[in-house]
């Protein structure tokens, strides 16, 4: 569709323009593509974007969850109450983001803190899902940092789930494809921010360039420190190269208290091995076995049954004398 290109987004709350717009990034802007060895380098480098979730501002209202459902047109199941406020109880193929609630008593103040964290894809700079994915083009990473699933190419194997250090993607039992937060790549591509950021009433979720978001995070951290949160900080884990979804945490020294946010997430060494060494060594070993066999077959001599062998067999069967059974050693 023809039309002008949109500006890069600066904020999530700008209202959409009324004229049709072409997407301002696409397949030509891929930094990585799953199961693809020779991806041409992208012609340009898009400005890195980021979604910043300030957990200290979040009131756990779940507007983000409902906006995500509405925008992506999913149909989360109506479950039951299992004694918690989380609903649904885990990320699913119909629920790309989830408010997770943890009640934590701060040992320094003895006060209860109700830590409410919006869980979802972190859009890692070094995406474990993409590394694990065996289907070419099912997972892509744009140069702006967005990691997206291309469902037409997805085979539903679930490797991405294992590859992800945060256990995020979910496979649909209905259409056998993997689903996760897309960072609203379709909205970002026309100059909008993600639906969750648009809906968030307290602006706990904001969106813009990663640089701006990091700067904004520092302001929030300064404010938190002034309110007694000495260890407030930004969660942008280096183990995955940094992420394009970041958190401001009151207690950045203990990410685990926020419903099990990994302290130092990295792609699991098991996954690195599986998608790294195991592949090369495995292929080499199999190749060696095949080639070795071939060589042996070509240059070696076939192991044939001789005329004498057949005669001896006949003799044995007919009861005629044959060489005696050996006792471990044979003259030779």
């Amino acid at each position: 569709m023809s039309g002008t290109m949109a500006e890069q987004p600066r904020t999530a709350v700008s209202n959409p323009p009324v004229r049709a717009l072409a997407a301002n990034f696409g397949p030509q802007d891929l930094l990585r593509r799953s199961a693809t060895s020779s991806l041409p380098a992208p012609q340009r480098q898009l400005t890195a974007v980021a979604k910043l979730i300030d957990v200290s501002k979040c009131i756990g209202c779940k507007a983000c969850q409902s906006a995500c459902v509405e925008w992506n047109d999913t149909n989360p199941a109506i479950g039951v109450n299992t004694g918690v406020y989380e609903n649904p109880h885990d990320l699913t193929e119909d629920m790309f983001t989830l408010m997770r609630f943890s009640e934590w008593v701060n040992p320094e103040t003895n006060n209860l803190e109700w830590l409410i964290r919006k869980d979802g894809c972190m859009h890692c700079a070094d995406p474990g899902c993409l590394k694990a994915c065996p289907a070419p083009g099912a997972i892509v990473q744009y140069t702006n940092g967005i990691v997206d699933f291309i469902h037409d190419n997805c085979i539903g194997c679930g490797y991405c789930v294992k590859g992800c250090p945060f256990n995020i993607p979910r496979i649909s039992r209905a259409d056998h494809r993997a689903y996760k937060c897309t960072l609203c790549s379709d909205r970002v591509a026309v100059g909008q921010g993600p639906a969750c950021a648009k809906a968030c009433p307290t602006q706990a979720i904001v969106f813009g360039t990663k640089e701006d978001m990091t700067r904004h995070a520092q302001e929030r951290i300064t404010d938190l420190k002034s309110r007694g949160f000495a260890n407030a900080g930004l969660y942008d884990p280096p183990g995955v190269g940094g992420t394009h979804v970041m958190y401001v945490l009151h207690h950045a020294d203990q990410p685990g208290i926020y419903s099990g946010l990994p302290e130092n997430p990295r792609i699991s060494p098991l996954v690195e091995t599986w998608k790294g060494m195991t592949k090369y060594v495995g292929l080499a070993v199999m190749g060696f076995a095949a080639v070795g066999s071939l060589m042996h077959g070509i240059f070696g001599r076939a192991n044939r049954v001789s005329r004498e062998d057949e005669e001896n067999a006949e003799k044995l069967v007919e009861g005629r004398p044959v060489p005696p059974p050996d006792s471990e050693e044979r003259p030779g």
């Binding site: 200290s56 779940k62 307290t202």
Partner: protein, 813 residues
């Protein structure tokens, strides 16, 4: 609200008590977030539960539901004892200096004049001492033993931190921390805002809860200033509109009063509504009452209302009881004395207390008409849903007629928000099927009734025949036609009283606002406080100007705020007696020598001198009231009263049960439980994921919070052997429900007077037997049938229950 949502960003301290702002108003709450982020404002939450508002608060203190008055009077006591009072403001702008007449007293929890039999007070002793000049006597030195200030000091003196702990269960150190943070806002340059809602109103002493905070805000000098105020967070997008338009049985529009039986003629009615100023030179704006009353009558009956017939005063119903509130109506229904009920946009079976009584009441009607976009439980009250609605349809003779209506997204009109902003909105969709809008339905009912009266006659049909119905299409008055009627217009040429040749408003033209309304029948206005919303400038409610000069948060061109587009009420109180703002960095109004100027429409005559005319112009005193005379049934000061069902006795008067003047119907006396049978203190409330009983019909909301649960502490769970996620039975004297249990640290046992440990059981309300969410039981099966002594808001927030683990309900949902 006295202020507005956008003004909250100007504050230094937000106190959320008697409400749960973040959960109930997540969008409005962003202004608190703004204040925190940009002004370093602090947030305090005082609540029986650690709510989602508390999760972003700087400080949280627990409190036993129903004991807020003790807490607030304790804070007032703290401020007085520690000299944290905005003295200039208090002396000039409150009735602190007014002298109360001899004979007024308070002891053992009761004020002078109590009649235990009648359950009422004789309030004549609750008044000022009047001078011979007809004005109230004052002592500006505040030395007189019976001046309001000294009476207040004495009244609150019993609420020491230790007493607060005994009554409220709030640990002393937490109470003191809160009191200290609040007391800092007594300086002119620090303000505090109070954000409250149903946690305060839904008690049998609800009005007094609010009074207590209002008094605190006044002595701190926080009313009428930027970032201050008493900010009621209304619970529905147009509930402010409901009260403004007088949809309560004792009101006409704009808070004019429905006459009573005793007021047999207009002269008698007006005799007690003279509103003469009680201090020299004060405005006492209600003196204009006749202008609004006559204009209202002209709007109702048009040409039929004339001076000769007292403006059709006889057409108005006369109240034979203080009010026909919902509790009384359902009581009458339950006695079989009501034939029919038109239930419009309401779900009483779910929303009213004591559901068993509601079911019984509805079953005795001859007919019930529901007007609603949703299939409500009320419309299906007769249908058996197993345990969830255990009725026998064969024994119910009520004829139920369901009229589907459009919903808000399919309508055009205005919604009045908490901040008094009338915001015009347009439809986004067309109604489905046979759904019609409410105006059409009501018009049809009226037109057909009128026709029937014409054909068949009936008792006193005059008000019906003469009801003004001047619409282009009588079947469907348009929203604009109605808005214009509400604004009001001139019926004849309005001339300048000083110069009769000068025509101010031509006949037939809209008045600019209520300042042009007259009491001689020359003007009409459907609702005087809304006048100005749709005048000759156009539909001011549809304006969407986002200008905010100097970023003060006023937004004068965004929609229309009543009254007169004034955004902060009592805003003259933002300046001292010389007219200089208390806080120059947060100026709202300033006196320039000849008139008031500033960012907002002055809430005072523009040329009223700052040292002469006091800011509270609706009051006869001109000042605000720390002492409310006889205007409230349960006391001129708030007194500590326990809920009717309380886990502990009233420490100030153990014999006193609940509010001594709250109305109890005889049929309900036996339906109150005691703490032996029902040892735990329940409270009902709302969650962010749902709006009352609507959103359970929406798949997204239902997925986000699918099933009815109750919240209890780990301690109570251990006591009763309850596990999180398991089924529990909760029962009160009125009924029994089953729910899932959420066991949480956010509810802590409260250690109250005499070593009593109070366990709180939290009960969110949103489930029923229709909709997309899991079928669930309803909190109001348990709640008591008693309301606030002044306004009859039911006491949903404090009652007694028992709890035990149980098996799941037998019905498959």
């Amino acid at each position: 609200m006295t202020n507005s949502w956008t003004d909250i960003r100007n504050t230094d301290l937000v106190v959320v008590m008697g409400g749960n702002a973040a959960e109930a108003h997540p969008c409005g709450f962003k202004w608190v977030t703004e204040a925190k982020a940009h002004r370093g404002a602090k947030l305090i939450v005082v609540d029986p539960r650690f709510t989602r508002t508390a999760s972003v608060a700087d400080y949280y203190a627990p409190i036993r539901q129903g004991s807020d008055i003790a807490f607030l009077l304790g804070v007032i006591n703290y401020c007085i004892q520690n000299d944290r009072v905005q003295w200039e403001y208090t002396k000039a702008f409150t009735n602190a200096s007014f002298i109360v007449k001899e004979g007024f007293s308070y002891s053992d929890g009761l004020f002078s004049g109590y009649d235990e039999e009648k359950r009422d007070y004789d309030r004549t002793s609750w008044d000022y001492e009047m001078g011979e000049d007809g004005f109230a006597r004052v002592d500006e030195t505040l030395q007189h033993p019976r001046c309001v200030w000294n009476l207040l000091k004495q009244h609150v003196s019993v609420f020491t931190p230790e007493m607060v702990q005994r009554i409220c269960g709030t640990p002393q150190d937490k109470f003191l921390h809160v009191a200290q943070m609040i007391s800092e806002c007594s300086t002119p340059t620090k303000t505090m805002t109070s954000m409250y809602a149903l946690g305060w109103t839904q008690h049998s002493h609800g009005s007094q809860n609010i009074r207590a905070m209002a008094m605190l805000q006044l002595i701190l000098g926080n009313i009428g200033v930027r970032g201050g105020g008493m900010n009621a967070l209304r619970g529905h997008s147009n509930i402010q509109g409901l009260t403004d338009m007088g949809l309560m049985s004792h009101l006409l529009t704009g808070y004019l009063n429905m006459p009573t039986e005793a007021e047999t003629d207009y002269a008698t009615y007006m005799k007690s509504r003279q509103f003469k100023p009680l201090r020299p030179g004060q405005t006492s704006y209600w003196q204009n009452y006749p202008k609004f009353m006559v204009s209202f009558q002209k709007a109702m009956w048009g040409e039929a209302a004339t001076a000769e017939n007292d403006w059709c005063y006889d057409y108005l119903s006369k109240l034979d009881v203080p009010s026909y509130d919902i509790l009384r109506m359902f009581e009458l229904m339950n006695q079989g004395r009501v034939n029919g009920y038109i239930c419009q946009g309401f779900n009483p079976l779910m929303a009213f207390p004591d559901r068993g009584k509601s079911t019984s009441a509805l079953s005795k009607l001859k007919f019930l008409v529901t007007m609603d976009p949703l299939e409500t439980e009320t419309s299906r009250f007769w249908e058996n849903h197993g345990e969830y609605n255990d009725v026998n349809p064969a024994s119910i003779r009520t004829e139920v007629i369901q009229l589907p209506t459009s919903c808000f997204a399919e309508d055009e009109g205005s919604l009045t928000n908490s901040g008094r902003w009338l915001q015009w909105f347009w439809p986004a969709a067309t109604p489905p099927g046979e759904a019609r809008n409410d105006v059409w339905i009501m018009s049809q009912i009226f037109l057909r009734m009128r026709e029937l009266y014409r054909k068949e006659g009936g008792a006193f049909p005059d008000p019906i025949f003469n009801l003004s119905w001047q619409y282009e299409d009588p079947n469907q008055p348009t929203p604009e036609e109605l808005a214009k009627e509400i604004n009001g217009r001139a019926l004849v040429d309005l001339t300048d009283p000083a110069d009769p040749s000068k025509v101010l408003v031509q006949a037939g033209k809209q008045v600019v606002n209520f300042s042009q309304l007259r009491d001689d029948g020359s003007t009409m206005s459907g609702c005087w406080i809304y006048s100005g919303c749709f005048n000759e400038a156009g539909n001011n409610m549809a304006r969407r100007g986002t200008e905010d000069p100097d970023g003060v948060g006023v937004y004068p061109n965004w929609t229309f705020a009543w009254p007169l587009n004034r955004r902060t009420l009592y805003n003259r109180a933002s300046a001292d007696l010389q007219g200089k703002p208390w806080d120059p960095s947060r100026k709202l109004l300033e006196w320039n020598g000849t008139q008031w100027t500033g960012y907002d429409v002055p809430d005072i005559a523009p040329t009223a001198r700052p040292d002469q005319v006091m800011p509270f112009i609706m009051n006869q005193e001109g000042s605000s009231r720390l002492f409310t005379r006889g205007m409230m049934r349960d006391g001129p000061f708030p007194a500590h009263m326990e809920p009717f069902e309380s886990p502990v006795p009233n420490v100030l008067n153990p014999r006193m049960r609940g509010n001594p003047v709250a109305r109890i119907f005889e049929s309900d006396v036996a339906r109150f439980g005691n703490s032996e049978e029902f040892p735990f203190a329940a409270t009902s409330y709302r969650l962010t994921e749902h709006f009352h009983y609507w959103t359970k019909h929406n798949r997204v909301n239902a997925a986000l919070q699918p099933e009815f649960f109750v919240e209890i502490s780990h301690e109570l769970a251990a006591m009763r052997g309850i596990t999180g996620g398991g089924w529990v039975r909760v029962w009160s004297k009125r009924g029994s429900v089953k729910a899932k249990a959420v066991v949480t640290r956010r509810i802590q046992p409260l250690h109250c007077d005499g070593g009593r440990v109070v366990h709180v059981v939290g009960i969110p309300i949103h489930w029923g037997f229709t909709g997309a969410a899991r079928k669930g039981f309803n909190a109001n099966t348990l709640s008591p049938f008693v309301g606030d002594a002044n306004i009859e808001t039911p006491g949903f927030k404090a009652f007694l229950v028992n709890i035990e683990p149980t098996t799941p309900p037998g019905v498959v949902s």
